[in-house]
Symmetry: C2
Subunit: 117 residues, 2 copies
């Protein structure tokens, strides 16, 4: 598929940049949140609809972590009832190539895997 991957690093003992990437995408929820934010802003309850299995606690926690990592932006409207919108930051946008590859892989392999599960 892509043989260039073999050329981009030679010293395997240096601290691996893959770890750096994994630090910000830690766990599956963050990646999924970023995925759903890739185009439009979203509100808290929209995430809950998109990810029915995430708990409020996890959603709240992961949104905070993503925000403090600078990957997403939290905008609060001082209205009643409360309104909060989450959107991707420019920094978060830089993750899009990763999101895209994850999507492409999943799309290609989900049928195969659905047989196993």
């Amino acid at each position: 598929m892509n043989k260039n991957i073999d050329l981009i690093i030679d010293d395997e003992n240096e601290k691996c940049p893959v770890e750096t990437a994994l630090e910000v995408m830690d766990g599956k929820w963050k990646v999924l949140i970023l995925w759903y934010l890739r185009r439009d802003k979203k509100r808290f309850n929209e995430f809950q609809k998109l990810m029915p299995k995430i708990t409020q606690k996890m959603l709240s926690l992961k949104l905070k972590e993503l925000e403090s990592d600078g990957l997403i932006i939290r905008k609060v409207y001082p209205v009643i009832p409360p309104k909060v919108e989450y959107s991707m930051s420019e920094y978060g946008e830089s993750l899009k190539p990763i999101l895209k590859q994850l999507y492409l892989w999943g799309e290609e392999h989900k049928k195969l895997r659905s047989k196993e599960l």
Copy 2:
């Protein structure tokens, strides 16, 4: 960077293929293991040197999970002392584009992030 990502899916309510990908890469250790296997086979103690912080228990567990997911191959040589080699399967190789993007992102952002951490 890549605007095509916006075009590849329209129905956000369908079960997201990103989740499928995340299922096999669950947790940080698996991705790292796959990364270190991207070119050459590796032995158990080589992984331990490459990932000093992983426990034997986790390494053993994650190798098993990756094997049972068909992403890596475990080859046992009937010699004394025992010799076991792990390598990527063809299926595992299909993850290389993801690994590459993770690497590229990490490489580009680790300096930025090292200020934060």
